[in-house]
Symmetry: C2
């Protein structure tokens, strides 16, 4: 399966609606949580146990942006073959359903929800992924729907007709 | 205005629909961009000039998640008084409109789009912010609509009736 010489990327044509990518598992340590929050999201409930215990979240928890960035990292790492992505377009309906607490292990899945090509940009297709991020108890902590531009292997195929 | 002894937080009642928060300015250096991307978003066009120059984005650019995290940081830093937040709920319709390139300076605004209280949770209100992130040329690089839980100073006021 693996070719040691050339990298075989996942192109638009290799994707199927309904395909599920398992995201593996990442444990968020106190150091990781405090380090990210110190830089980007310095609320007391992400930095200090006393303040966190007194907060609505009931304990030290990760910045939601941190959870999102780790979900992204897990997605890229766990794609069966490296994704031939040209970058993200954005996402819809991100919801933080539950806090991610110190030493929680997150995982979950990304499901190919839609694949769309256009006649105007035959070299790129839009991949829509539904991400469901869970904790070690199987509870959903975050959901989001992500749109990403993915390279088409053979742009000479008709863009609009090739939409799956 | 500043009280050196007690911190005077921005509570739900202090916010007004239409209020605009200026986000200041942050320059994204090559080191910042590569450091974040190495950890969370290791695509070649965020890491390496040669690959980046050959990519759709035409040069080394920041991870969109990095832009988002910096926008969050600027929001928290530039609130007139520290926001009495209990955490984010999520966001809608995040769009990366243009890449943020090495040494671009981003800024922009957050506008209070909606303020909503419920009878079921009189102690918290939902603040909806429309964020518009721009570069040094005044071009929009990212937009998103963020929902955040904010502490109510006087929960005895009727939640639903107090909705502005």
């Amino acid at each position: 399966m693996n070719n040691p010489v050339t990298i075989d990327y996942t192109h638009f044509e290799d994707l199927e609606v309904g395909q599920v990518i398992d995201l593996g598992a990442t444990t968020l340590t106190r150091d990781m949580i405090v380090s990210f929050a110190t830089e980007f999201d310095p609320f007391p409930f992400h930095l200090d146990e006393k303040a966190a215990n007194a907060s609505l979240l009931g304990g030290l928890s990760a910045s939601g942006w941190h959870t999102g960035a780790i979900a992204l990292k897990m997605l890229l790492k766990n794609f069966p073959k490296k994704l031939a992505s040209a970058g993200g377009l954005g996402f819809k309906n991100l919801k933080w359903k539950r806090p991610v607490m110190v030493n929680d292990t997150i995982g979950g899945s990304a499901t190919v929800a839609a694949l769309r090509r256009t006649r105007s940009n035959p070299q790129w297709g839009v991949l829509t992924l539904d991400m469901n991020i869970t904790n070690q108890k199987g509870q959903t902590v975050m959901v989001m729907t992500l749109d990403n531009l993915v390279e088409v292997r053979d742009p000479s195929t008709d863009g609009a007709e090739a939409t799956k």
